[in-house]
């Protein structure tokens, strides 16, 4: 069994940024374990541009954004085992992994960085009734077929869900000659960014229908049609509104879930608000020495914030590796009713904190307030707040006390 100071599970944007920053902080003994054949994560198939505006001050395609980190990691000679699957992580920081080349491997880690990202919700996750023909894909799978494998998924396409990947695939398939009949969203508002409604749907005259969902899938071998219904205020289909659309492809863009099987195996507690692990301001889970950042922690809107979060994580992981522990975080972080996906879940009150969350529904002219007891630490007025956008607010250590829980509220 080999000891490694820092094992990073996942070589996507979070893992690569954490590895590079750890090395810069003086941690030499690092190992990245990556399931795919090449590092870069999901960015390898996100060939559209728009990445990097915050992190690099310019707009890049996904592969270009990833390559900046891959090349940096290579120039720093950070080892990365690809084609390697992590099978188990134990609470005492043993990591079991396997690959065809090396067989079973066991490592003992000074710190473990969880950077596994997220996965897509599937047809099963939202229980769409109907038959089970070919031609039903999640948006990311369709994207991988088209952008990595040169396989066109279909010609007449319906998209369920207005997540960013779904809208980006609507444009991508249109450019490749498919007819995208429409994007249907169960909520009364688009779940992706407004710019993608504009540049991916409106630019190509693809209709977006809000408060609609798929209520039947028809076809034996290949998808033949789907039935779309309007939904009421409680997102229940309204009888009599059914409309059948002939199509050979249904693309689902119905949400992302942090991929945390290994996290739970290691004994880390879940944060019910994010579906990711509960962490403190150091991105440390409830298991000492196991850290999480990026989409495995909470689903981000922009990769730039994934990179920045992983770099912040590296700072605390490096301190843990050199000091053996971090100050305990005993104060709870709580969100009001309009606050969703709030992280971290607890803080010490002794160091800087970045609070991340999303509003639960689109709001106008609202005020975000962060309080400890009676003290208002931050108040931010927002003309517009959308669930599609992650809100991040930094709090400096010298403003915090070490006795009161942190409350995050949004009011209109």
């Amino acid at each position: 069994m080999k000891h490694v100071d820092a094992i990073i599970v996942g070589g996507g944007p979070a893992g690569l940024a954490a590895a590079i920053e750890l090395r810069r902080k003086g941690i030499d003994d690092i190992l990245i374990l990556e399931r795919e054949k090449k590092p870069g994560g999901i960015l390898r198939q996100c060939i559209h541009d728009g990445f990097g505006l915050t992190r690099f001050g310019e707009t890049l395609s996904g592969p270009e954004y990833a390559a900046r980190f891959v090349r940096e990691a290579e120039s720093l000679e950070i080892p990365c085992l690809t084609d390697t699957t992590v099978l188990e992580i134990t609470p005492d920081r043993h990591v079991f992994a396997s690959s065809s080349e090396h067989g079973m491997m066991e490592f003992e880690a000074g710190a473990i960085i969880l950077a596994m990202g997220c996965r897509e919700r599937t047809r099963g996750a939202i229980s769409i009734p109907g038959t089970r023909p070919a031609g039903v894909y999640t948006a990311g799978v369709a994207q991988a077929y088209i952008n990595l494998k040169n396989k066109m998924v279909g010609r007449r396409v319906i998209i369920l869900g207005s997540g960013d990947i779904g809208m980006i695939m609507a444009r991508r398939m249109t450019l490749e000659g498919a007819e995208v009949l429409g994007v249907f969203e169960v909520q009364p508002y688009a779940s992706g960014l407004p710019r993608n409604v504009e540049q991916c749907l409106n630019d190509y005259n693809i209709p977006l229908s809000l408060s609609h969902t798929v209520t039947d899938i028809r076809g034996t071998d290949r998808l033949e049609s789907v039935v779309i219904s309007e939904v009421d205020d409680h997102m229940q289909p309204i009888p009599g509104t059914e409309k059948e659309y002939e199509c050979d492809t249904l693309v689902l863009s119905v949400g992302l879930i942090p991929e945390n099987e290994l996290t739970w195996m290691a004994g880390a507690e879940k944060d019910p608000g994010t579906s990711g692990p509960a962490v403190d301001e150091n991105y440390q889970t409830t298991v000492p020495g196991i850290f999480a950042a990026g989409n495995v922690l909470h689903v981000h809107d922009l990769v730039d914030f994934v990179s920045l979060e992983a770099e912040a994580l590296a700072d605390s992981a490096a301190r843990f590796i050199t000091q053996g522990s971090l100050p305990e975080s005993k104060l709870a972080v709580r969100g009001g009713e309009l606050v969703g996906g709030l992280t971290p879940s607890r803080i010490s009150g002794e160091s800087d904190v970045t609070v991340s969350f999303r509003v639960r529904r689109p709001l106008r002219d609202c005020t975000v307030e962060i309080r400890q007891g009676e003290t208002v630490l931050k108040r931010r007025k927002m003309a517009k707040a959308l669930p599609a956008e992650m809100i991040q607010i930094k709090l400096a250590a010298d403003k915090l006390n070490t006795t009161d829980d942190l409350e995050v509220t949004v009011s209109c």
Binding site: I47, L53, L60, E64, A67, P194, E198, Q199, D301, K384
Partner: protein
């Protein structure tokens, strides 16, 4: 005439309201930065977009190399440019920044590779 725009220059996606007289902007509000006004001006005169797609690679470790344009093109030329890009097959290896079509259709922009594909 009042026209509403959603700015696509960055992920903030500002809602911009513009008071127009013909093609002249008489008033603008909602944009948080100067890029918004530049975007709206362009949208009124001649909407421009970048596109991303892929080219076939012969003998590479991947079948495709992703590409984008070095700059924006008129929105109504997108499908013409797609047709040009679809004709291209390049031999491996290709590297980020390689030009696969220079000055595509005389529009003044190049089609450039955004992903390294090595020879298999």
């Amino acid at each position: 005439m009042l026209r509403e725009f959603t700015c696509i220059m960055c992920p903030q996606g500002c809602d911009i309201s513009v008071e127009l007289e013909g093609k002249t902007i008489k008033g603008i509000s909602g944009n948080k930065c100067p890029k918004g006004e530049a975007y709206v001006t362009q949208e009124i005169e001649n909407p421009m977009r970048n596109i991303a797609t892929s080219v076939l690679v012969d003998g590479g470790d991947l079948p495709l190399a992703s590409v984008r344009l070095s700059g924006v093109i008129p929105k109504d030329r997108i499908f013409d440019v797609m047709a040009e890009i679809r004709k291209v097959e390049v031999p491996a290896p290709v590297h980020e920044g390689d030009v696969v079509i220079a000055d595509v259709l005389g529009l003044g922009v190049d089609v450039i590779v955004t992903k390294d594909v090595e020879a298999a």
